[in-house]
């Protein structure tokens, strides 16, 4: 095995995974970024949206430009820009700088994705090269939120970007070492509309699964980012099981994609109605989503690129479709769940009032609890409050402490229930998007006459 095949190609595959992981890697870090950069929920969402929007918009033009450039220079420049922008993201001192750096990161990422595809094909050959590129992308997409959550909890949100720098820096010489030549191919085939459309709708639905679930876990159920990261790791694990299942049952490709879309829709519908905030209730729905993801994304990407030339141009269309889908998902879901969270405040406050009024505490203690809760609810306007501080500062008799602790647990359960209810419609919309994706698979296509 040559050094290029042994070292350079895996580094290029890791770069592909990193770029596509960046699509959702900051999801679990958003609360930390919100706090650290003193910004608003609306602005912080742009850290996620900007990257996907730029990647979605520039993917096709970048692929067009690739045909007129030196592949290894193209890849190396892209990876270097990606590395530099990642370092800039880590050092960003304001939300505006972070968003600009994320845009630049997406631009470099687009160059890297397109360049790495051609270089992986040079190293591994057509079929294995495309498979390696597609698989790296699926792994990156599925593991991004998990990696982001673990890094944020272990170090800081900046660590998400810092760890990407050395891999990307190493990938620059790797890209220069692979002697790929640009295949000068005329635009022979039109973009594959149906798989790209399905991919876009499915990406929008998967955004619901990954983005909303981590928000529910961290903001709604008050779990730490690392707990949330471990919880959502069910998705990539289940995605790994998809291939063996497909090999066992050997369905036709369209049936495989249709079943995958149905599994994603079913998983999202189940996430909309958990019986409680016990993390175990998210496992099976996530497994359905993961299985669906594993059955669809790589298959659709392969369908969109299969037998179509120029290859990078069609890869550009798939990247564009996926990230346009993510932006579509965020654009639809963000206002829905933000409004639903706002609407959930009144029922949550009423439930809290009911429990405090009926709590087995002395009247004076109830008034003190109510006042402390009132301060906490006012301070955290627009976000789900942390009631623990209200109870931690309570000056009550030791014999009343067990009752106060019980009340705190009951109130937390009410907040969790309110948050869960607030996310329901968004998960159901995500399920609807997956069903729309299923529809694009089921609608019969035009018959081609010979």
């Amino acid at each position: 095995m040559t050094p290029v095949r042994r070292v350079a190609a895996p580094l290029l595959a890791v770069t592909v995974a990193m770029v596509l992981a960046d699509s959702a890697v900051v999801t679990l870090a958003l609360p930390a970024i919100l706090f650290h950069l003193h910004t608003t929920v609306g602005q912080v969402a742009w850290v996620l949206i900007a990257f996907n929007l730029v990647l979605g918009v520039v993917a096709v033009p970048v692929a067009w430009a690739f045909a007129r450039a030196q592949p290894r220079i193209f890849s190396a420049v892209g990876i270097a820009v990606f590395a530099g922008a990642s370092a800039w993201c880590a050092g960003a001192g304001s939300i505006e700088v972070l968003i600009v750096a994320r845009c630049l990161q997406a631009l470099g990422g687009a160059l890297a994705l397109v360049g790495c595809l051609e270089q992986l094909v040079t190293v591994y050959g057509e079929k294995r090269g495309v498979t390696a590129w597609v698989t790296a992308g699926v792994v990156g997409t599925a593991t991004g939120p998990v990696a982001g959550g673990l890094l944020t909890d272990a170090f800081s949100w900046q660590a998400i970007f810092v760890v990407q720098v050395p891999f990307a820096v190493l990938a620059v010489p790797a890209a220069l070492a692979v002697p790929a030549t640009a295949a000068r191919v005329q635009d022979r085939h039109r973009p594959a509309l149906r798989p790209n459309l399905t991919l876009a709708l499915l990406s929008a639905a998967l955004t619901a699964a990954l983005f909303l679930l981590v928000l529910l876990l961290v903001e709604g159920w008050r779990r730490s980012p690392s707990t949330a990261a471990l919880t959502v790791s069910v998705v990539p694990l289940a995605a790994l099981a998809a291939r063996p299942l497909a090999r066992l049952l050997r369905p036709p490709p369209q049936v495989e994609v249709a079943a995958g879309c149905f599994l994603v829709a079913g998983g999202l519908a189940c996430l909309a109605i958990p019986p409680s905030s016990d993390l175990a209730w998210t496992a099976a729905p996530q497994a359905l989503v993961g299985l669906g993801l594993g059955l669809t994304v790589d298959r659709l990407t392969a369908q969109a690129m299969e037998m179509r030339l120029p290859r990078v141009q069609h890869a550009g269309w798939t990247i564009g479709a996926r990230h346009a889908g993510v932006v579509l998902g965020l654009a639809i879901l963000t206002p829905v769940f933000t409004a639903d969270l706002q609407d959930a405040q009144v029922p949550a406050q009423e439930a809290i009032a009911a429990l405090v009024l009926d709590a087995p505490l002395e009247a004076a203690d109830k008034i003190e609890v109510a006042q402390a809760l009132g301060r906490e609810l006012t301070d955290q306007e627009g976000r789900i409050p942390d009631l623990h501080r209200a109870f931690a500062d309570l000056d009550i008799a030791p014999e009343d402490r067990p009752a106060a602790d019980r009340l705190e647990r009951d109130l937390d359960a009410q907040l969790e229930a309110a948050a869960t209810r607030a996310f329901r419609d968004s998960f159901l919309i995500g399920a609807g998007l997956a069903l729309l994706a299923l529809l694009t698979v089921l609608v019969p296509g035009r018959r081609t006459t010979t």
């Binding site: 369905p251 209730w281 009423e350 087995p360």
Partner: protein, 203 residues
């Protein structure tokens, strides 16, 4: 594997998996994990208090009173409580409903026998009262039957509710000392008025 089996096997597995997970979740009340819904304030509820004496009586009275007021205002008890906890002026409608609700509460407690006799509260009331020490000792020496005959607790409470400036009470709800001063003054005055009226009626 035959082609027909290849066509239906994966969709069948998918349908089975989704139905199974949905079924288990629904069987465990999936979809019903929601915040408590406020109870109808017009339906009588049993209220309890962890406090004894005057504090316990006041708490039960206020809890039942808020129910009555909320019922009159067509709100939930919780919505009214949150509304009253907000700073700002109270409407005439709110104050009237609260006063009427507190009167209803006195009647209900009297009817169901949960209103304590005056003798149960007299020692605590005297401790808080601004009275001459000899007078306090003299009153404490009176037999319970005399106290209960002289002071009817429902009458005292009704008078207190009428005398209290509820608008001011709601404004000062965060100031415990001022609240206690207002309530104690109203209770003292009501006890005096009640006793005087009783003596007048006896004479």
């Amino acid at each position: 594997m035959t082609s027909r089996l290849q066509l239906v096997a994966l969709p069948a597995v998918a349908v089975l998996l989704v139905s199974g997970v949905l079924g288990v979740q629904l069987a465990h009340d999936g979809g019903r994990f929601e915040p408590l819904h406020p109870a109808d304030p017009c339906v009588a509820r049993t209220v309890t208090s962890q406090s004894d004496g005057i504090d316990g009586l006041s708490e039960r009275l206020v809890l039942l009173g808020i129910d009555g007021a909320a019922c009159r205002l067509h709100l939930s008890r919780e919505a009214l409580t949150l509304q009253l906890a907000q700073p700002g002026a109270r409407s005439e409608e709110e104050v009237d409903a609260l006063r009427a609700g507190l009167h209803d509460a006195v009647r209900r407690m009297k009817d169901d026998g949960t209103l304590p006799p005056a003798s149960d509260l007299v020692d605590e009331a005297l401790d808080n009262a601004d009275l001459n020490g000899f007078l306090k000792a003299a009153i404490k020496a009176l037999p319970d039957s005399v106290i209960n005959a002289a002071v009817k607790i429902d009458d005292v409470l009704d008078r207190t509710i009428d005398d209290l400036d509820l608008r001011r009470v709601l404004e000062d709800i965060d100031d415990h000392d001022d609240l206690n001063r207002q309530v104690n003054a109203a209770v003292e005055q009501s006890v005096k008025d009640s006793v005087v009226d009783r003596l007048k009626s006896l004479l």
